[in-house]
C-alpha cells in the first residue's frame, strides 16, 4: 500500500482531481475565468446546439479517419517493402523511424516551410508541372487534408515498426504450407500475412486514433485551427478556449467531449486486446 502511495498522490493531484473539477466546471455559469454559479446543463445545451460544435465534430472525425487511413496504408507498405531487405532493412527502418521521434513543434515548422506558397519547394514543383499551388495551408478546402498528410508523415513510421514486429512473429510453417500448394508471394500475403496483421492493425488504429483526437500542437503550428476554422478539432477548440478564456464553461464541455471519446476508444482497446498499455 505504502509502495503505491507516491504514485497515487501524484495522479490524484495532477490527473484525477482536475478531471472531477472539469466535470463540475461544465455545470457552472462562467464569465471569463470566473465561476458564477450552477447552471445545470446550460453549457451542454449551448455547445451541442451550436454550429461550431458540429463543425468541430466533423473536423475531428475527418482528421482522425484521414490520418488513420493514410498512416496505416503507408506504414504497412513500408513494413512489407523494408522486410525484404534483411539487415539493411533494419538499418533503413531506424532511419525511417526518425520523424516519429521529432516533436510536433518541429514537424509543424518543417512542413510549414515545405508548404510555403511563395518559396517552399512543394509549391515550386507544383508550378513546374503546371498546377497552381494556391494558398496551400491557407486554403480552407485543402488545409485539413494537408494536415492529414503531415500527421501521417509523422506517424506512419510507428505503424511500420509495429507491423514489422507482427510480420516477423508469423510462423514460417504457414508460408511453407502455401508454398507446397504452389502459392507465390501474393497468396502468401493474402492468406497468411494479412489475416495475422488484422488484429495488430486494429489495436494500432485505436492507439493512433486516441493520439489524433487529442493532438493540438501540430494544429497550432500548421494552421492555428484555421483557415476559417477548417482545422479546428474538439481538442483544438479546448486549447483555444483555455488560452482565450472568454467563457470557460463551454470549453469545459469540449474537454468532456474529448475525455469521453478518449475513454470510449481506450475501453474498446482494452476489451479488444486485454492489455493495458499502448
Amino acid at each position: 500500500m505504502v509502495w503505491f502511495l507516491p504514485v497515487v498522490v501524484l495522479l490524484l493531484a495532477v490527473s484525477l482531481y482536475p478531471t472531477v473539477f472539469v466535470i463540475w466546471m461544465s455545470f457552472q455559469k462562467t464569465r471569463f475565468y470566473d465561476l458564477t454559479g450552477f447552471v445545470g446543463l446550460a453549457n451542454y445545451v449551448e455547445v451541442l446546439s451550436s454550429r461550431t460544435f458540429w463543425d468541430t465534430t466533423y473536423t475531428s472525425l475527418a482528421y482522425m479517419a484521414g490520418s488513420l487511413a493514410l498512416s496505416l496504408a503507408l506504414g504497412v507498405f513500408a513494413a512489407l517493402i523494408l522486410n525484404n531487405l534483411g539487415r539493411t532493412g533494419k538499418l533503413l527502418r531506424v532511419l525511417t523511424l526518425l520523424p516519429w521521434t521529432l516533436s510536433m513543434a518541429v514537424v509543424g515548422t518543417i512542413w510549414l516551410s515545405l508548404f510555403n506558397p511563395s518559396y517552399g519547394p512543394i509549391g515550386h514543383y507544383m508550378k513546374q508541372i503546371g498546377i497552381a499551388p494556391g494558398l496551400m495551408l491557407g486554403d480552407p478546402g485543402l488545409a485539413l487534408w494537408l494536415t492529414v498528410l503531415v500527421t501521417s508523415w509523422w506517424s506512419f513510421p510507428y505503424v511500420m515498426v509495429i507491423v514489422t514486429a507482427a510480420i516477423q512473429s508469423i510462423p514460417r510453417e504457414l508460408y511453407e504450407a502455401v508454398q507446397v500448394d504452389g502459392g507465390g508471394w501474393f497468396p502468401k500475403l493474402r492468406y497468411v500475412t494479412w489475416p495475422h496483421l488484422i488484429p495488430t492493425l486494429g489495436s494500432t488504429a485505436l492507439t493512433l486514433g486516441i493520439l489524433y483526437l487529442t493532438l493540438v500542437t501540430l494544429l497550432i503550428v500548421l494552421t492555428g485551427g484555421g483557415p476559417l476554422g477548417a482545422t479546428t478539432t474538439w481538442s483544438f477548440e479546448t486549447f483555444r478556449g483555455t488560452v482565450q478564456a472568454q467563457n470557460i464553461g463551454p470549453t469545459a464541455v469540449y474537454s468532456i467531449v474529448v475525455l469521453v471519446a478518449n475513454i470510449v476508444l481506450g475501453v474498446v482497446y482494452i476489451r479488444a486486446t486485454g492489455r493495458v498499455s499502448a
Binding site: 500500500m1 509502495w3 482536475p18 532511419l95 525511417t96 497468411v192 495488430t200 487529442t214 486486446t273 493495458v276
Partner: protein, 280 residues
C-alpha cells in the same frame, strides 16, 4: 534461391521502393538541414534549392548566441530530467509492489493508474489552468515538472512491473530468508538487475517530455520559464520577422538531443513501441 515468406524476388523493384520509403521519411528532414545551412537570401529564393548554393553555419552560431537560448535550453533539460526523476521515484516502488505483492487494494490501485492514463492532457488544460491560477502556481517550474511527471508515470509503473516480473523470485526469496527487507531487496538486488530497463523507460520518458509544447506553453508561458519547443513555436508565430534559415537551425538544435538519445537506444525504443502491441 527463394525465400519462404512473401518476398518480392525482383531486386530492382525492392530497392527502388525501399529508397522511396526512406526518402519519404527523410526528405523533409533533409530540406530542414539544407535550409538551416542557407543564408537569408537563398532561403527565400524563387527557385528553392535542395543543395544550398553556398553553405553557412552562421544560423547555428546565431542560435547558440541568442540571448534567451541558454535559459530555454536549461528549462528543457530541467523539465525533462526532473519529470523522469519524479516518475522513476514514484514508479519504481509501485512497479516493484505490483510485481511482488498481493493485497486486496492492488486491483483498484492498478485500475486507478489505468484510468488516469486514459485522461488526455488536453482535456485537463482548462481545469488545471483554473486551479493553478487560483493557487498562484502558474509559471512555476516545479509545477511543470510535476505535471509532466504525472503524464509519464502510468507507463513507468507498467514498464517497471514488467521488468521486475522478469527477475526470478528465487533471488528475493533467498534474500528474505537471510533477513533482508523488501526495501533492501529492491534497492540492492532488483534495481541493479533491471538497470537497462530503467534506462530505457528514462529515455522514452525524456523524449516525451522534451518534445512537449502544450504543458509549458499554457501553464508556464513566461519568457524565462519556457523551453526550446515553446521558443520555436513563438518564432513561427512571429510571421513578420521569421527567418526560415534561423528557425530551421533552431528546430534542428532543439531536436538534436532527442535524435542522439534515439540513436543510442533505438533497440529499446523499438522494443518499447512494440511491447505488447503485437497479438501473438
Amino acid at each position: 534461391m527463394y525465400a519462404i515468406p512473401p518476398k518480392l524476388t525482383n531486386r530492382t523493384i525492392v530497392v527502388g521502393l525501399s529508397a522511396l520509403v526512406v526518402l519519404c521519411a527523410v526528405g523533409p528532414m533533409m530540406w530542414a538541414i539544407s535550409t538551416s545551412l542557407k543564408n537569408e537570401v537563398d532561403a527565400v529564393a524563387a527557385i528553392p534549392a535542395l543543395i544550398p548554393p553556398s553553405i553557412t553555419f552562421a544560423n547555428f552560431l546565431t542560435v547558440f548566441t541568442h540571448k534567451t537560448f541558454l535559459v530555454e535550453l536549461f528549462n528543457s533539460v530541467l523539465y525533462a530530467a526532473g519529470a523522469v526523476a519524479v516518475a522513476l521515484a514514484v514508479g519504481i516502488p509501485a512497479g516493484y509492489a505490483a510485481s511482488r505483492f498481493n493485497f486486496p487494494a492492488k486491483r483498484p490501485l492498478m485500475l486507478l493508474i489505468l484510468a488516469t492514463s486514459m485522461v488526455p492532457g488536453v482535456a485537463l488544460l482548462v481545469p488545471t489552468f483554473y486551479l493553478l491560477d487560483q493557487l498562484g502556481l502558474l509559471n512555476n517550474r516545479f509545477v511543470v515538472v510535476v505535471i509532466l511527471a504525472a503524464r509519464i508515470a502510468p507507463q513507468t509503473v507498467w514498464f517497471i512491473q514488467n521488468f521486475v516480473d522478469a527477475v526470478p523470485r528465487d533471488i528475493d526469496e533467498a534474500a528474505l530468508l537471510d533477513g533482508a527487507s523488501h526495501r533492501q531487496i529492491l534497492l540492492l538486488l532488483v534495481l541493479p538487475l533491471i538497470r537497462p530497463g530503467i534506462a530505457a523507460v528514462a529515455v522514452i520518458g525524456a523524449i516525451t517530455t522534451w518534445n512537449d509544447y502544450i504543458t509549458v506553453a499554457v501553464f508556464a508561458p513566461d519568457s524565462v520559464k519556457r523551453t526550446l519547443q515553446v521558443a520555436l513555436v513563438n518564432q513561427v508565430f512571429d510571421s513578420v520577422g521569421i527567418s526560415w534559415s534561423f528557425t530551421m537551425a533552431f528546430a534542428l538544435v532543439s531536436s538534436l538531443p532527442v535524435i542522439v538519445l534515439f540513436v543510442l537506444v533505438q533497440k529499446w525504443f523499438i522494443a518499447g513501441l512494440t511491447a505488447g502491441a503485437v497479438k501473438g
